[in-house]
């Protein structure tokens, strides 16, 4: 039966294909049923998960025997026996033969036993139910973990459906085979969403309950333009979508044809459109879309992708590759912008898990606490700067002192390079992200010390409105059009103008055509956006005059609530570019 789910559209386009369902350890039932011809495969998957658990327990047993002696090790031999319990295995296998997924069957059968033990009364047996839950967890981890592993060894096209995809998992998605993805959690501005846009994979996030209603071989449509996921679509729907898929392609083609035309307003004012990238490989396609530089290179993907700390050479090679695509145009390297909780390797364990990562050690704070890590990146950037117009930008600066501290580390690196006689460029412009409200408020003072500002609207909105961008329960409170945000932007633009430094906008807000006339009207002439948004934004710009933009901004800045601002801007955009909306 056809089912329609709604979520947040984060990466446009339509993908139609077979579902691949991913679970996580905490999410116990990825899919309830398997298809008839999948049974043998699922049985063998279950068997190898069991084997893996046995092996794991055997290793633990040996370890404990060595440390504590045979008596304690006996606990593990009992566990081992539990895993091999013929009755248990038989019950699970029977359920799989009746088309239940092994994950579901394991949960059901072990759950029943655990319940039985709990109900029998007696302290001892009730505690044994914990052993059973532990066993369940172990088996599931192997069943599901293996699934996740499959993701990097795809051989046929699929649509990935998951509770959540981590940024590094998204980064590793094979673009050749992953046609689109949909997740139960996540919001507009989560890194996963940003990444999907960059990779040009249609994606919908924040759907809520999804995985329980879909199984492995179902046909699914992901409509990333409208935030819709359709499970088992009927024939009419399929035809409609195949048709709109075609229209989307031709619309994109038309927009791409704009890429050779100058990016300027109707009255001839040039607006610079730069691209946001995560991987050096994106630089070329960014150029094809009409970008005149890289306004934001998110270097943290160097850390996430390899799952270890990148070496100076890794950084250097990556930066050089981007500069090669843009030899005479600005390339802004943003230094590491990650929370300690997302770092691979040793760093993660240094920090307690229960702190609020958004307010804890992340970005520039992490860099300043781990100078070796920071210096490695800065060295590579200064060396690569020899080959183009490289600029360095610090993220999450919240006080003047912090910026000065970071600048001092850079001076140290300059000194080191000099002493070692290594070639590098000395006069690399040094800028900052304005994404913490304190920095936006103090923009006047900052403007006297930095070479450029880049407004990071995603975090600026999160911190100003106190809304976690990935939290479903408050996602509707995250509003780019909030008057408080406009006022902070106004303050930053005024300070930049007064001290004659450039200011650009690089958050998700600037990729949304609705806000473009407003931002231009406020005086911004440079944007850094998701590459695929450039053609569309260019069309808006070419339909706009500066005087019109200024009127729009002046009016929007008088409105008192986000809803009014956004409605007003939406109406204005429709009037400017009636064609833009025809995809609905």
């Amino acid at each position: 039966m056809m089912q329609i789910k709604r979520g947040i559209a984060v990466s446009p386009g339509v993908a139609i294909g077979q579902a691949m369902v991913l679970g996580t350890e905490n999410f116990r039932i990825p899919n309830r049923y398997v298809s008839e011809n999948g049974v043998e495969f699922e049985l063998s998957r279950f068997q190898s998960a069991l084997d893996a658990v046995c092996e794991e327990i055997a290793v633990n047993e040996k370890l404990v025997r060595g440390m504590l002696g045979d008596q304690y090790a006996a606990i593990f031999s009992a566990h081992l026996m539990l895993v091999k319990d013929p009755h248990l295995v038989e019950q699970i296998e029977t359920r799989v033969r009746q088309n239940q997924s092994p994950e579901f069957a394991v949960t059901q059968v072990l759950g029943q036993y655990a319940k039985k033990l709990q109900n029998l009364g007696g302290h001892y047996l009730a505690e044994r139910s914990d052993d059973i839950f532990d066993l369940e967890k172990r088996i599931l981890r192997h069943l599901l973990g293996e699934r996740r592993e499959e993701l990097s060894h795809l051989t046929a096209p699929v649509l990935v459906l998951a509770h959540n995809l981590s940024t590094s998992e998204t980064a590793k998605l094979n673009r050749e085979f992953v046609l689109g993805f949909a997740t139960e959690v996540g919001g507009h501005t989560s890194h996963t969403a940003i990444l999907a846009g960059a990779m040009e994979i249609p994606a919908v996030v924040g759907i809520g309950k999804l995985l329980a209603d879909v199984s492995g071989s179902d046909t699914v449509i992901i409509d990333g333009s409208h935030g819709i996921v359709i499970i088992n679509p009927d024939e009419d729907t399929l035809i409609k979508y195949r048709d709109s898929d075609e229209r989307y392609r031709s619309h994109t083609k038309r927009l791409i044809s704009l890429s050779t035309l100058p990016c300027e307003t109707k009255d001839g004012v040039a607006i610079e459109m730069l691209g946001n990238i995560e991987f050096p490989g994106e630089a070329e396609s960014c150029k094809e879309k009409g970008a005149v530089g890289i306004g934001l290179y998110r270097t943290e993907f160097l850390y996430l992708e390899s799952n270890r700390e990148p070496t100076e050479e890794d950084h250097y090679q990556a930066y050089c590759q981007v500069l090669k695509a843009f030899p005479n145009q600005p390339v802004v390297i943003r230094t590491l912008d990650l929370g300690a909780d997302k770092m691979p390797g040793n760093l993660r364990s240094i920090y307690a898990e229960d702190v609020n990562p958004a307010l804890s050690v992340r970005s520039i704070r992490l860099s300043l606490q781990h100078l070796q890590l920071f210096k490695t990146q800065l060295r590579a950037a200064l060396r690569a700067a020899e080959f183009g117009d490289l600029r360095i930008m610090f993220p999450l600066i919240s006080t003047l002192l912090e910026f000065r501290q970071a600048k001092m580390v850079l001076s140290d690196v300059v000194e080191d390079l000099e002493e070692q006689g290594i070639q590098f460029r000395r006069d690399v412009p040094l800028g900052m992200m304005v994404e913490v409200p304190s920095a936006a408020i103090m923009a006047e003072e900052f403007a006297q010390e930095v070479s450029f500002f880049s407004l990071g609207t995603n975090d600026l909105i999160q911190y100003t409105l106190a809304v976690d961008r990935a939290d479903q329960a408050v996602a509707n409170l995250y509003r780019s059009g909030d008057p408080s945000i406009l006022r902070l932007i106004r303050n930053v633009v005024n300070a930049a103008r007064k001290h004659n430094i450039p200011v650009s906008v690089c958050g998700q807000m600037s990729s949304d055509p609705v806000f473009l006339p407003l931002l231009i009207g406020m005086g911004i002439r440079q944007f850094s956006v998701t590459p695929h948004a450039i053609p569309e934004l260019k069309e808006v710009i070419r339909n706009l005059t500066i005087s019109r933009a200024e009127i729009i901004a002046a009016r929007a800045e008088t409105l008192e609530v986000a809803r009014d601002v956004e409605n007003y801007l939406g109406g204005e955009l429709k009037r400017l570019c009636p064609d833009l909306m025809q995809l609905d």
């Binding site: 045979d70 606990i75 031999s77 009992a78 026996m81 319990d85 009755h87 001892y124 047996l125 044994r128």
Partner: protein, 96 residues
């Protein structure tokens, strides 16, 4: 395979902790070596003695009486051995 007989015996749990993990494990290990069936019954509850999980669900404490049943070749031998386990309170001396 079967000599056609069902061998039955009543056994009593006489160790302090009852049929917890370790005793169940010992019973199951024994039963698994036997080709025919081995079943322990407590009132309405029947447990396949080859299944550790099943045995645990008997929740047999000290003093509980259980019906032991075995079929198949050497069923009498397996019954004898299981009875022995119960009799000496599962007191296989812990390994050194």
């Amino acid at each position: 395979m079967s000599d056609g007989f069902i061998h039955r015996r009543t056994v009593t749990v006489n160790n302090d902790q009852g049929l917890h993990f370790r005793p169940c494990q010992l019973i199951a290990q024994l039963a698994q070596q036997h080709q025919g069936t081995v079943v322990l019954t407590r009132g309405e509850t029947r447990a396949d003695a080859k299944s550790l999980m099943d045995l645990l669900t008997l929740a047999a404490e000290r003093g509980t009486s259980l019906e032991l049943e075995a079929t198949g070749t050497d069923a009498s031998v397996v019954v004898e051995k299981v009875c022995e386990l119960f009799a000496n309170g599962f007191n296989s001396p812990p390994p050194p």
